[in-house]
Each structure stands twice: as structure tokens, then as C-alpha cells.
Symmetry: C2
Subunit: 206 residues, 2 copies
């Protein structure tokens, strides 16, 4: 029988994922070999395939972690903004500023690029990976969309605004900003894009 407190549980799987994530963010998933992972964790190949049926299952597990982390990042920021500010517009402005600050502090580690990495090789992976990728991006879209709707209600804009596009803007800037930041080796690019979008939000609803 298997229950939560089973002492036989080891942290090997977790350690594989940890190392795989770091390596994937640094070198891409394709550049991360199983041999490298088992050497790093100190197990054998059989040990690896005991935990993951194949490399695709490892990718799925990484995406799973990413989705969890993703949701936490979004909700943490909006929860904090809601705690501090009642007004939807000013809450959004505060949230965007906090988000930009968060990105400044952990520029390399953001797993957003996991989505991009998998996106550009998705033919190689399972449909599961693609679905998870969509799911993660929909999390952003719906969270922002709902809040922009609240803003529009209280601050009707002069010109019509493409709310769907606006809701997608942040994740678009994150994905693009991570690429630019990486290419230019400049972690300030992404937070500055977010702050620029914040200016746009302020201008749009005032």
C-alpha cells in the first residue's frame, strides 16, 4: 500500500527535475542530455527511466512545474495588489509595477522560456505538451482579461480598446522580452517593457 508518509519515497525524481530545469533554461531542452542528468544526480540510466518513461515525459513534468509556478506568480501579484488597492485601474498599475520588480530580481530563472523552448520544438513532443502550453498562456489571458473588464467598467475609454489583445500583451512581452534579454545579455529589457505597457494602460484609461 502506498501512502503519503511512505518512507521509501526518495527525492531523486525531484532532483532530476531540478537539474533538468536549470539545464534546460541554460542550454535548451534539446541540449540537455539524459547522460548529463544522471551524472549530475548520481544515478544510472535505468534509474532515470524508472522515473520517466522517456524524455518527453520529463518535458511534461517540467511543464507541470512551470504551470504551478506560473499560476503562483500571477496570483501572488494580483492578491497583493487587491490587498493594497481597491480601484481596478490602480490595482493593475500596482500589479504591473510589482511584476516588473519581480522580473528585475529574478531575470534568468523565469521559466517562461520553457514554454518558448517547447513551442519551437513542439512537433517533437506530445500533444500533452502543446495543451499544457496553451493552458499556461490561457491562465495569463483570463486573469488579465477579467481585470481589464473591471477597469473598462469604471473607466470607460475614449477610443475602443482591443481587450483580448491587451490581456495577451503581458505574456507576449514576457516571452519576447526574455528572448531579447537573452540575446542582448541585458536583464533590464523585460522589466522595462512591462513598465512601458503600464504607461500604456494608464494612458488608455484616463
Amino acid at each position: 500500500m502506498l501512502h503519503a508518509a511512505d518512507r521509501r519515497r526518495t527525492d531523486t525524481r525531484e532532483r532530476i527535475l531540478e537539474l533538468a530545469e536549470a539545464s534546460t533554461l541554460a542550454k535548451g531542452f534539446g541540449g540537455t542530455s539524459i547522460d548529463e542528468l544522471i551524472a549530475g544526480v548520481g544515478i544510472t540510466k535505468s534509474g532515470f527511466f524508472y522515473h520517466f518513461r522517456d524524455k518527453t515525459e520529463l518535458a511534461e513534468a517540467l511543464m507541470d512545474r512551470y504551470l504551478v509556478h506560473n499560476r503562483k506568480v500571477i496570483s501572488d501579484i494580483f492578491d497583493r495588489a487587491d490587498e493594497l488597492i481597491e480601484d481596478p485601474l490602480h490595482g493593475m498599475l500596482a500589479a504591473l509595477k510589482m511584476f516588473a520588480e519581480t522580473l528585475s530580481n529574478i531575470p534568468e530563472a523565469h521559466p517562461g522560456c520553457l514554454a518558448a523552448t517547447f513551442c519551437y520544438q513542439d512537433q517533437l513532443f506530445s500533444a500533452r505538451i502543446r495543451e499544457m502550453n496553451i493552458e499556461g498562456m490561457l491562465d495569463w489571458r483570463t486573469s488579465f482579461r477579467r481585470r481589464f473588464e473591471a477597469i473598462v467598467e469604471r473607466y470607460p475609454p475614449k477610443r475602443e480598446v482591443d481587450l483580448d489583445a491587451m490581456a495577451d500583451s503581458v505574456i507576449t512581452l514576457v516571452e519576447g522580452g526574455l528572448i531579447l534579454g537573452r540575446v542582448h545579455q541585458d536583464p533590464s529589457i523585460l522589466p522595462r517593457q512591462i513598465m512601458l505597457f503600464r504607461d500604456f494602460v494608464r494612458l488608455s484609461f484616463s
Copy 2:
């Protein structure tokens, strides 16, 4: 002696590049095998390695084509805008609209994601590839930066604007928008992001 009109010149190399580009955009560079390319072009492995020392040299050649295409896209649009409009702000607004239209028409084929593909695996490639990637992105930055400076001069904004970030916005949105468009299977996402940025530009300088 080798000169331009050498009749022995074949188009094999060009055909390899053509096929490799299409395959890379569809499946990623890692997912594009040499065997697949030589089968498609109808040559042998030796034939491939006659043209390219290794797969990295193929990647470099693809990036080369991308840079050329990249510059043409930028200059075509701004040239046309300059032709029609003298005012820097309205020229920019027109250019952005034309760009969004262009993206709507050729959503799949835009090679921007070549940069992203290579970016997320750049440790595997030569320093050349990374330099070419930087070069391509600087093309965007400098082109836009110059034009935003002209706009600021004629239309001094009320609040201070981060011109560097603004100059990077379009390529950031392109890279991010290609990812979202790919994940959601929705080619309208990118052009709409560009149109949203256009709104921001209009609002910022009026």
C-alpha cells in the same frame, strides 16, 4: 579561376537552405535532420557536407538569409511610409499599420522565430550565431530609435518616455507574438499586438 558566371555553379546549396528554412520554421532546427534534407533535395550526405562543414554552418547560413530578409522588411516599410508621409509621428503610425498588415498576410513564414529558435539553443552553436542574432535585433532597435527621436522632437511628450524600451517594443512583440500565435494557433495575435502598440505610440505623443 572562379568567377561570377561560372557555369558549374548549381543551385543545390540554395535548395538545401530553402528546405532547411521551411523545416526549421515548422519543426525547429533540432528537429530538422540532415538525412531529411538530403532526401528532400535529392543528394547524398557527402553532397551536404561538401556545401556545409557541419550543421552549425547551416544554421549560420540560415541566419544570414534571415538578416537580409529582416533588413528588407524594415526598410521596405519605412521607405514606403516616408514616401507617403512627412510627419514622423504619422509616418510611424502608418508604418506600424503596414507592418501589422504584412504580418497578417504572411503569418507562418516570418523568420523571426529563427532568432528565437537559435536563441534558446545558442550554447550549442557558435559565437557567430549569437553575434548575428544580436546584429538582427540591433537593426530593429536603431531603426525605431532614430524615428522615435524625430517624433519626440516634434511632439514633446507630457511624461518622460523610455525611448530605448520603445524602440525595442516592436521586435519584443514580434518574438513574443510569434510564440503566442504558434501556441494558440491564432495568426491574428501578433498583428493585433502591433496595432495595440500603435495605439500606445499615438497616445504617448498627443
